[in-house]
Structures are given as structure tokens and as C-alpha cells.
């Protein structure tokens, strides 16, 4: 039996008396694509923040590949193999598409290594592959700030992939996209197959259906339900939350 790649064990994130995450647990297997949905304020983005070390839970543990990352510096968590795409695209505006990806693809990210050219060839190969994958090959010398919104989203997905992370967190990758772009994004995630473990946060149900993966539903910082898209749709608790009768 392989052990799960990510195990979130009973974490609580509190802002004063308000608990953004309340004793929340989640297990994601190696190579799995998992979708996390929930109404606004359910704690989905906070979950990502906690996994990458941007917020620190007051209790609980997060195990990545059996290592507890809860107290690690952010850049060490990335080095372990976790990388996240932010909700509003965090591309580096004044850099070209190529440079955005090249920085992400740099193998050793300690600052003095930026002067070394040792691994440049390997890095370039990686960048080329990613450019194809996210369909930005013809835009590689454009400044990232000049891309369309959808292209920025793909570029940031590309950056996350370029880090070589095993676990990638995609926080609303289709926000602001039209139906065709959304479909392309679903294809892109499908194309990753089992090579990466992906945690997707979204509330666009069409997109969630296109992904056709296991879904976890959150509500008010707590676990609500888990299962296939169809299971979740037919779940009475989920229906009541989405219809606003959470009581």
C-alpha cells in the first residue's frame, strides 16, 4: 500500500474568534486529482494558505510525504515539492513569459546559485516543454503583464508545473475564463495524468464536472462531504448548504 502524498490532520486556523478552518482533515493520494468545493468563506483558500505555509494553523498537522510542514519556512515547503497557483494570477508582470517560467524552473533556488549557469541547459529544456503544455509557445517573449487574463492563468499554472512540484495547488484556475478557456484548462489538468498530484479549488460546477475527479465539499471551515461529482450532487447536506439552508 502506498501512503497518501498529502495528509491534512485536524487543522484549525483562527482569526481571532473566527475559525476559517475548524478541525479540518483531508487525505490526497499520490497522482490523484482532487477538487475542493464549497460556498464562499468555506475556507478553501485558507486550506491552500495553510499547506504552503502562508498562514500557520493553531493546531493540527499537515504531512507531505510523511514530513510535517507546519513549521517550515515557505521556500522550504516549495523545495519539498508543493507549489500553488494563486487566485488572482501572480505572474511577474514586467518579465517575459519565458523568464517567468525560467525562474520557476531554476533547480537550486538559494540566492547565490542565481549566479551559476550550471543547470541552464536542463532548465531551458523544461521551459520549452512547459510552454507547449500550457500553449504559450508563441508568446514566450511577451511581457507577462500584457497577456490576456486566461493566458496569465495558464502561465501561472505553467510556473507551478515548472518548479517540478509533486503536489500542485490550483486556487480557482478558471476564475474569469470563458467556457472555451475553461475547457482547455480542464484538458490541461487531464493531460497531467498521474504524473502530478493536483488539488483544485473551484466553484464553477461545469469545470468540476469536466474534471470528473473525486470531490471534497467544505462548509464553514469543516468537512461536509466527499465522493464523485454525482454523489456530491445527490447529497442532501450539500444541497442544503448551496441553497442556503445551512441552519
Amino acid at each position: 500500500m502506498t501512503q497518501p502524498l498529502l495528509r491534512v490532520a485536524g487543522i484549525t486556523v483562527a482569526y481571532g474568534v473566527f475559525k476559517a478552518l475548524d478541525d479540518f482533515s483531508l487525505t490526497v493520494e499520490q497522482g490523484e486529482t482532487r477538487v475542493v468545493i464549497g460556498p464562499n468563506g468555506a475556507g478553501k483558500s485558507t486550506l491552500c494558505d495553510a499547506i504552503i505555509g502562508r498562514v500557520r494553523p493553531v493546531s493540527g498537522h499537515i504531512y507531505f510525504d510523511d514530513k510535517d510542514v507546519i513549521r517550515m519556512p515557505e521556500q522550504d515547503i516549495v523545495t519539498l515539492g508543493i507549489c500553488r497557483k494563486f487566485q488572482t494570477p501572480g505572474v511577474l508582470q514586467s518579465l517575459t513569459v519565458w523568464d517567468n517560467l525560467a525562474l520557476a524552473a531554476q533547480g537550486d533556488k538559494r540566492w547565490w546559485r542565481t549566479f551559476s549557469r550550471a543547470e541552464r541547459a536542463q532548465e531551458e529544456e523544461r521551459v520549452r516543454a512547459i510552454l507547449e503544455q500550457v500553449r504559450l509557445a508563441d508568446r514566450s517573449s511577451a511581457a507577462a503583464g500584457l497577456l490576456s487574463h486566461g493566458e496569465k492563468q495558464w502561465l501561472e499554472i505553467g510556473m507551478v508545473l515548472a518548479t517540478g512540484a509533486q503536489l500542485i495547488l490550483l486556487d480557482e484556475p478558471t476564475a474569469g475564463m470563458g467556457p472555451r478557456e475553461t475547457e482547455k484548462t480542464a484538458d490541461l489538468i487531464h493531460g497531467l495524468g498521474n504524473s502530478r498530484t493536483v488539488l483544485v479549488i473551484d466553484h464553477d460546477m461545469t469545470f468540476v464536472e469536466q474534471l470528473a475527479s473525486k470531490v471534497t465539499v467544505m462548509h464553514q471551515g469543516k468537512f461536509l462531504a466527499e465522493g464523485s461529482v454525482a454523489d456530491v450532487r445527490s447529497n442532501a447536506d450539500v444541497a442544503s448548504v448551496y441553497l442556503g439552508h445551512s441552519g
Binding site: 519556512p73 515557505e74 507549489c83 511577474l92 514586467s94 518579465l95 523568464d99 525562474l103 540566492w111 542565481t114
Partner: protein
């Protein structure tokens, strides 16, 4: 920056260097001395391009690092002119009979030169580390640096017996065993300054076009994104700030040699803000722009404040407001925009 633009700015820089090397033939001794002082300022201005233009760190305290370099060389020149074991005149007037411990090592010319580079760099680096590792930035950082400039100038004034107080240090006669007032010395010192300016220009150009420079721009654009790609932005910013501090120190030392004096009035809040304005007007993303800004604004200052003594601060204030509202990339931005508009040769 496109390749064409890069070549054209290299050619431009080479032409300017030739022109500047010929300046001693054309300028009066007085104007040559002014030019030498302002070229010293240009070194500091390039440091501001590095931290402000490329890292987005606004420092309103570069006068402090300028002052550290300036006082290091000034103290050495003071000691060099004295017989062994005696103290500078202003110390005697304050009733001091022995040198403060931090003066003594500067008697050696070698120590003084090292101090000009190392003291401002280390101090800037430590300061930046303390602030940036706590993730303080932006306006807060600007305010902290301004407070630092105020504190530094106040400290210099209040320690009359050790620093020369409000009057600072002046009356230098020798530098590294040379008579500083000998004929032809001004041209030599001017050429040394020009050489350092050119070296720094090419050094910084290489640095800014390297992966390191790319990362600096990246963390300016999105520090969080860079952090969550696995880089730690703090050492990058600390290194950049230390380099800018070192250039400011070198700038201060050269200025002191050319001007023949250094005083707290050169290192406090107002001069520190003026330094930022040179770069804002010249162009904070352009090394050549910053050099031009430092030189032209200081010539303008010399001219305006001798013709209309009260107007200078109004003038520079108005110029700053105009630049910020109309030309956020300064004069250099205007030039590069026009270059981009001209169609490429077939």
C-alpha cells in the same frame, strides 16, 4: 530591454565616456571640480536605480551611507596631515586630548580605503537584513530610512568633539601621501572618478542583466509569487541594498576629496530626498538616466541657487511633482519610448 536598445545604450555610454574624458581640456578648473563632484553623486544615483528601480525599495536615507564613506576618508585625511600622536584642531577646541578609538585605525590609508567600501556596505546590509527579514517594506521602509538619516545627522552634530559637529571636517591637504592641491591633481582625481563611474556602470549593467537582476525585478513585481516559487527574497534585497550602500559610501568619499569638506548638512534628510529626486527625474529604471539626473540637477542647482538663492527648493519640488505625474520613468523613459517608436532598420 530589446537587443537593439541594449546596443544603442552601450554605444551611447561609450560616446559619453569619451566626451567626459576630454572634459578637462574644455572646462575651467572650477567647472571641472563641480563636474567631478557631481559625477561622484552619480555613483550613488546608480545605487538608487538598483534598489528603487529594480527592487522597488525606496530609501530616503542614502545620505547615511554617503556620510559613512565621506567621513571615513575625511577622518583619514585629517589624521594624515597631523604629526604622530596629536589630535585634530577641532578636538582640541572641544578639550579632547586623545583620539576616539574608532579614529585610530583610519590613520592607515589602506584601512581608510577598505572602510570606505566595507563600512557602508556592512551597515546597509545589516540594517536591510533587520528590516527585510521582518518583512517590512514599502512606505514603512522609506520612513524608517528617513528616521535613520535624521538620527545620523543629529548624532554627527551632537558629537562635536569627535566628529567636528555642525561644521564637519574640512581643511584637507594630503591624500595617500600626495599633495591634494598640487597643480594637475584636480585632473587626475577627476579621471579617477570618471574611471570608477564607468566601471560601476558596466558592473551594474552586467548585474542587472544577470539572473540575479531578473530575480530582483521578479520580487519587485510579486514578492509573494517569488517566495512561493521557492526563492527567499530577503537575501536578494539585502545584497542589493548593501551594494547600493557601498556605492553611496564610495560616492561620499569621492565627493569629500573633490569638495574638500564634509558636514552633516550633506548627509541628513533633505539631501537624502534630493538624491531620490535626481534619480526620479533622470529615470529610475535607467543607469544612464540616473547619472544624467545627478549631474544635470546639480549643475542646475549650482546655477539657480547662485542666481536666485531662495528658489532652489521650490524648483526641485516642482520638478519632482511634474516628473511623478507626467514621466514616471523620468527623462530616460522619454528617450526609450521615442527609440521604440522609430521603426527598426530593414
Amino acid at each position: 530591454m530589446s537587443a537593439g536598445l541594449k546596443t544603442s545604450s552601450t554605444i551611447f555610454a561609450a560616446l559619453l565616456t569619451c566626451l567626459a574624458a576630454a572634459a578637462p581640456l574644455a572646462l575651467s578648473a572650477y567647472d571641472l571640480n563641480l563636474l567631478a563632484r557631481f559625477m561622484s553623486f552619480a555613483l550613488l544615483a546608480m545605487g538608487i536605480v538598483l534598489i528603487w528601480g529594480y527592487c522597488g525599495i525606496l530609501s530616503l536615507g542614502q545620505g547615511v551611507f554617503f556620510g559613512l564613506g565621506a567621513y571615513a576618508i575625511a577622518m583619514h585625511m585629517k589624521l594624515a596631515a597631523l604629526p604622530q600622536g596629536s589630535v585634530p584642531d577641532f578636538m582640541m577646541w572641544s578639550g579632547r586630548e586623545s583620539l576616539p578609538w574608532w579614529w585610530a585605525p583610519l590613520e592607515s590609508g589602506l584601512v581608510a580605503v577598505i572602510a570606505v567600501f566595507v563600512v557602508p556596505a556592512v551597515f546597509a546590509g545589516l540594517f536591510a537584513f533587520l528590516v527585510f527579514s521582518r518583512r517590512v517594506g514599502g512606505t514603512y521602509f522609506a520612513l524608517i530610512t528617513q528616521a535613520l538619516a535624521l538620527a545620523f545627522a543629529t548624532l554627527l552634530v551632537s558629537r562635536q568633539g569627535a566628529t567636528g559637529g555642525f561644521n564637519g571636517l574640512t581643511n584637507f591637504s594630503t591624500l595617500f601621501g600626495m599633495d591634494i592641491n598640487a597643480s594637475g591633481r584636480d585632473v587626475q582625481l577627476y579621471l579617477v572618478t570618471l574611471a570608477l563611474l564607468v566601471l560601476t556602470y558596466f558592473g551594474l549593467t552586467m548585474l542587472l542583466n544577470s539572473r540575479f537582476g531578473l530575480l530582483l525585478r521578479a520580487s519587485r513585481d510579486g514578492e509573494n509569487r517569488v517566495r512561493f516559487l521557492g526563492f527567499n527574497p530577503t537575501p536578494l534585497k539585502v545584497a542589493a541594498f548593501a551594494i547600493a550602500g557601498m556605492l553611496a559610501g564610495l560616492s561620499g568619499a569621492l565627493f569629500t576629496v573633490h569638495a574638500g569638506n564634509i558636514s552633516p548638512a550633506m548627509v541628513g534628510v533633505v539631501p537624502s530626498i534630493e538624491m531620490v529626486i535626481w534619480v526620479a527625474v533622470g529615470g529610475r529604471y535607467s543607469l544612464i538616466g540616473a547619472i544624467a539626473g545627478a549631474i544635470f540637477l546639480n549643475f542646475a542647482r549650482d546655477w539657480i541657487s547662485s542666481a536666485f538663492p531662495t528658489l532652489w527648493l521650490y524648483f526641485i519640488g516642482a520638478l519632482f511633482i511634474l516628473t511623478v505625474t507626467l514621466l514616471p520613468s523620468g527623462l530616460a523613459g522619454l528617450v526609450t519610448q521615442n527609440l521604440r517608436k522609430t521603426p527598426a532598420a530593414p
